[in-house]
Symmetry: C2
Subunit: 409 residues, 2 copies
């Protein structure tokens, strides 16, 4: 059961001029339903992406990197769910290229203008024939209003489709930002992948778009964790179709860049939080703020040390204000010369750790009260500097073990 | 239920000349039984230790470091179970020092000749009065034959006491090495600590002993993991009483050093493996060999990436040969420029990954067969160099969540 997460209202996912979405049933995902998603971009669109750092990067990730590094434009994205096309060697690369070629043929493009994405079982060969057969249906379904259906088609073990939209006015022009994502663990029951696609009709120069996708990833998808395992297929793609009536955003120092980045960040954070809310077996959604760090990297290390600790996560599941585990996790973050006497920690509005020890005002019943709700906010003050960050995660329940021990999709 | 782990036969834990052990019931550990252990060393003994790297190092760890750094000898060790004396600030340091003073008074020593150790609940103040009251009973019980009772007295949520002995002949003299340890997670249900004490009657020069304790820790206690959480109180102490009839081991290049180190390593590895076998909720004991690494640090990173992955650990619990999770974990180890086409992996005697993909000869039924037993060996070949390592761990079961979610001792 996802924590306070509902499917996006179809009408709330606003179309992005210059972009259409199609979907089809290719029969690759074993539990059935739509499992193929096609995105067509009008000429002049710009595309930038960030991809998994896993050493076993999947074949489609490798092809995406190649096509994005080339001189040509990107005009289509193709996504299949049910098979990750990872650990498949030269045959896997060939399968990803054949998928691009099929899309290119159907839409009258060059194969290098297509980005391929796969999510699902690792170490099995991609049935390209099934994609080729289903492709005409996806092409026939292409429509600017199909964001909701697209969010559905890329799901694997997600329990809720994930999407969000913002409208922002930049230089007087209304600009739309809409995105969808999938993922319920950094890696799911033998299924890989966090995939996210955000599009805007704002015109953005290519190097500026590439800069924005990294900056946004760093405060959204790179700040969410379910189990600490990074999948082999993680991809986040930012698309700018350029259809909005405004000048191209050509510099990251501009007010327009800041305004667009804010809207894209809001959509990305909503999607990232949705991934933690739908985390495998999640019963709690946890926000971890770390402040007073020497630098941002240190703040992230502390927040992730807390978010990844199985002992902290099981304590959240039990609604147990187990303070010892929290200081243990902070102490394990590898912060050089940590002065523990400067560390304070709040659970919700309750100060539980003060100067590295139990807060004088702390009462167990206050701790129990703030650990009960399905949404819990924690704040750590390290007393070392002015850097801060926020990380989102979920708890660790019986169902996490059940889902990951019992199922292989 | 521990995996293939029985309490050591009392007669098998051979006494170490120059060292006596006592125990008592101080009433600190809530489930009762003996929870205080005292070790007395004859004059001339040498002591070296390695301690937790956690930033919230407990008060007794800080006092141990002080006393070991001082010029004086070490003549006694005092260990309490049930309270970690961690996150307790200046009052905690004072409590650790008062404990040393009480032992010093009872045995006619200086307080700086005593090393204090605590394991148990974090963030609660140590009841020193209870230790002072129980101490005379521990002194009265001092006996060279009490290794088994000592192993029992330092347990927290351990289900089995852990001890091992070796006898080795060095320069014609029989030398004994005996050790005990406790710990069932890097950190337990709000209880902290891996504690290990190994003693030998071999005479060893202080700097050589310090070198040996680090070298042995690196291939034993630093190679075992239950949940990846390092406790605030971890301590491993190596004692050399010097009573054996041989020349002092004064150089680490000597044959005597090598012979003694082999025996100490065997005892330490047996104790380290016992910790994984008694891991919280463990149903499987897993040995991970990584070979073909560029250097040892890289081999350790790969082995621990596998050992720490919740997705890999739940697959072992399910006896599921989930190969995708194994390559995902290897890819996450942060190995620079990993050539996945050189990676091979065996589960038991079955080659499952070959050149980074599913082995041509692999059959699912072979994978299922080797995943069934309670003891599983895995071997990874990275194809990058000649460095190798071995890490021991356990699986991740419903009972891990149950133990950590439901209990606070």
């Amino acid at each position: 059961m996802a924590v306070n997460l509902n499917p996006p209202d179809a009408a709330s996912l606003r179309p992005v001029p210059g972009l259409e979405l199609g979907f089809a049933e290719a029969g690759i995902r074993k539990r059935g339903g739509t499992d193929l998603m096609l995105m067509r971009l009008e000429p002049g669109s710009r595309v930038a992406g960030v991809f998994t750092q896993n050493g076993f990067a999947a074949a489609p990730v490798q092809v995406c990197r190649e096509h994005l590094a080339g001189a040509g434009s990107i005009r289509a994205l193709i996504v299949n769910a049910g098979n990750a096309n990872c650990g498949t060697g030269a045959q896997g690369l060939d399968a990803a290229r054949r998928t691009c070629a099929a899309v290119a043929k159907a839409l009258g493009l060059a194969a290098t203008e297509v980005l391929p994405f796969s999510t699902g079982v690792i170490l099995e060969h991609l049935p390209v024939g099934q994609i080729e057969s289903a492709l005409p249906h996806a092409v026939a379904a292409l429509n600017a209003d199909h964001w909701g259906a697209a969010a559905q088609a890329i799901m694997t073990t997600d329990t809720v489709p994930k999407g969000a939209s913002r409208t922002v006015r930049i230089e007087g022009a209304p600009v739309t930002v809409t995105g969808i994502a999938k993922g319920v663990g950094m890696l799911q029951p033998n299924m890989a992948t966090m995939l996210a696609y955000i599009a805007t009709d704002a015109p953005v120069a290519q190097p500026v778009l590439q800069r924005m996708v990294r900056e946004v990833a760093d405060v959204s998808f790179n700040r969410v964790t379910v189990d600490g395992d990074t999948s082999t297929n993680d991809s986040f793609v930012l698309i700018a179709t350029g259809k909005a009536s405004m000048d191209e955003i050509a510099a990251q120092s501009s007010a327009a860049y800041a305004a667009l980045k804010t809207a894209v960040t809001e959509v990305a954070q909503t999607l990232a939080q949705a991934i933690a809310r739908d985390g495998e077996g999640a019963t709690k959604f946890i926000t971890i703020d770390v402040a007073g760090a020497a630098d941002e990297a240190e703040a992230v290390r502390v927040a992730k040390a807390i978010a990844h600790s199985p002992l902290v996560k099981t304590a959240f599941f039990a609604s147990d204000p187990n303070l010892g585990r929290l200081i243990m996790a902070i102490g394990n973050a590898g912060v050089a010369a940590l002065d523990t006497s400067k560390v304070d920690l709040w659970l919700g509005d309750v100060k539980v750790i003060e100067n590295g020890g139990r807060a004088a005002t702390y009462r167990e019943e206050d701790g129990s009260r703030v650990m009960k709700p399905a949404e819990i906010a924690m704040r750590v003050e390290l007393g070392r500097g002015r850097a801060a960050t926020t990380v989102w995660t979920c708890d660790f329940s019986y169902d996490y073990v059940k889902i990951n021990a019992e199922y292989r999709t």
